[in-house]
Symmetry: C2
Subunit: 279 residues, 2 copies
């Protein structure tokens, strides 16, 4: 018996999803089934959602959970009248905030204006993020070694430790320019930092992973290969970690971490400031 | 006079930041200066933050705003004793949720277990996202045309309309496999869909942008070039939109949108289900 969850938003729904996931993760014994309904910014769209929620309430044994970040009270009031357990994030926090700040809130559509032409900061943020994503792509997997001067950080690690998604995420979320360089068996057997990296020791950050997990991941890609064999993974991981210690390169075990966690931890450990300014 | 905001978390801080940004965006006349302090998961780390918050409270004219997603009450209680305006997201919502669900919450460290070895769904999500990011990179900018069979969506548009970051984001956030193909002047003058795309019409999604904005973006990259000239941008955008209409390709104007908004709107318009299941 799954409990239904609706994430409702007048924008992308990401805030409602993030918050809802964190809250519901505290109830690991209950199974939830969630749907996101983004861009609900008119009373008409809200009416359609009301029908959907009420239908769910009638056919299910327990009423649905609704997590709502709709700012316009004309719209959210329509939702609140449904048969549901209702978490209204803006109503909950905006009134106390108005009191604290001594001013009324704009109460417009609630998305972050990351990219409005009238806001110079927002515009710079957009450009910074886009440039950093392009940088991560252009400097993925040891390509374009000549651009390491521009990198904020250079991720190193054996194949499939999470270098590529982490470097892309650093650009997307934080505007940080991350290159990445794969440690291949030839590099590892030499027991010395590859030449391409020698001038950039201070920018290096190592990724590592538990060998059994690495073997699983590699097996998805190349089943039953030498590349995916547990023995290969054990050797490569061991050699990579030795290299990190030898050169005092900070490193992180990605086995249990999401891309978001890997990235946030690396920034913190490396002491790199995000390039994108939030409000 | 900027108002200081602390985002505190026992995990990455992304949830606190997202929610805080949405809330504070409702007060456009007030300037905020924010810092994120992630991974505060012990009383000792909390004590260090307390010192930082209290120092800010003493040196500033108005008390700091603290937005907190720390789940462990032993830790968050330490924070709550500071001189601040305190938004405690978990305390606010967990008790009513416990009541609704008829069970106590785990109250562990509050990060989403996207990648735990004991959770098969989380694991599949991780692999799906990573694979989709790798797919976006391998199929960026018209490379590897032969893999369009595997794509969930193919983004098309003239240079610098946001194709690359959007396709990467679709993979990272939603596990959706997005290829992208640049419409170059040769394609546009032919007034016909490039051969490489003809078999995949149903997967195509167009990006467009206001020409003046496109000229700004291109000028950052290649100042004073023909590529960045307003006339070039006007022509290319016009021809691309004609192509979209001619082939009934859905398209979206990215001028005012963040990467998050572009991606969420495309999924909605194209009717593509996300591949990654949230809780």
């Amino acid at each position: 018996m799954k409990r239904k969850v609706f994430y409702l938003s007048d924008s992308t729904g990401l805030t409602a999803e993030n918050l809802g996931r964190s809250l519901l993760a505290q109830f690991p014994k209950i199974q939830f089934e969630s749907v996101t309904r983004p861009f609900i910014d008119t009373p008409e769209k809200a009416q359609n959602i009301v029908i959907e929620i009420n239908k769910e309430a009638q056919t299910s044994q327990s009423r649905p959970i609704v997590i709502d970040t709709i700012v316009d009270t004309k719209v959210s009031r329509i939702i609140s009248a449904t048969e549901c357990f209702y978490i209204d994030i803006f109503s909950t926090f905006l009134s106390p905030l108005e009191k604290e700040l001594g001013t009324k809130s704009a109460h417009n559509v609630g998305h972050t204006p990351i990219f409005k032409e009238d806001s110079r900061v927002a515009d710079e943020n957009y450009m910074q993020r886009i440039d950093a994503v392009h940088f991560a792509l252009a400097n993925d997997d040891g390509m374009q070694l000549n651009r390491y001067d521009d990198a904020d950080i250079i991720l190193i690690g054996v194949s499939r430790t999470g270098k590529t998604p982490s470097s892309v995420y650093l650009g997307m979320q934080y505007g940080v320019k991350a290159a990445n360089y794969p440690l291949i068996p030839d590099d590892l057997e030499r027991k010395a930092l590859p030449n391409a990296l020698k001038d950039y020791q201070k920018k290096l950050f190592g990724l590592t992973i538990r060998p059994a997990r690495l073997a699983d991941i590699r097996n998805e890609r190349k089943p039953n290969s030498n590349y995916a064999a547990l023995r290969t993974c054990v050797d490569e991981v061991k050699q990579a970690e030795m290299l990190y210690r030898q050169y005092r390169i900070p490193y992180i075990d990605t086995t249990q971490l999401s891309v978001e966690e890997i990235s946030a931890r690396m920034l913190q450990r490396a002491g790199i400031e995000r390039r994108v300014n939030s409000l």
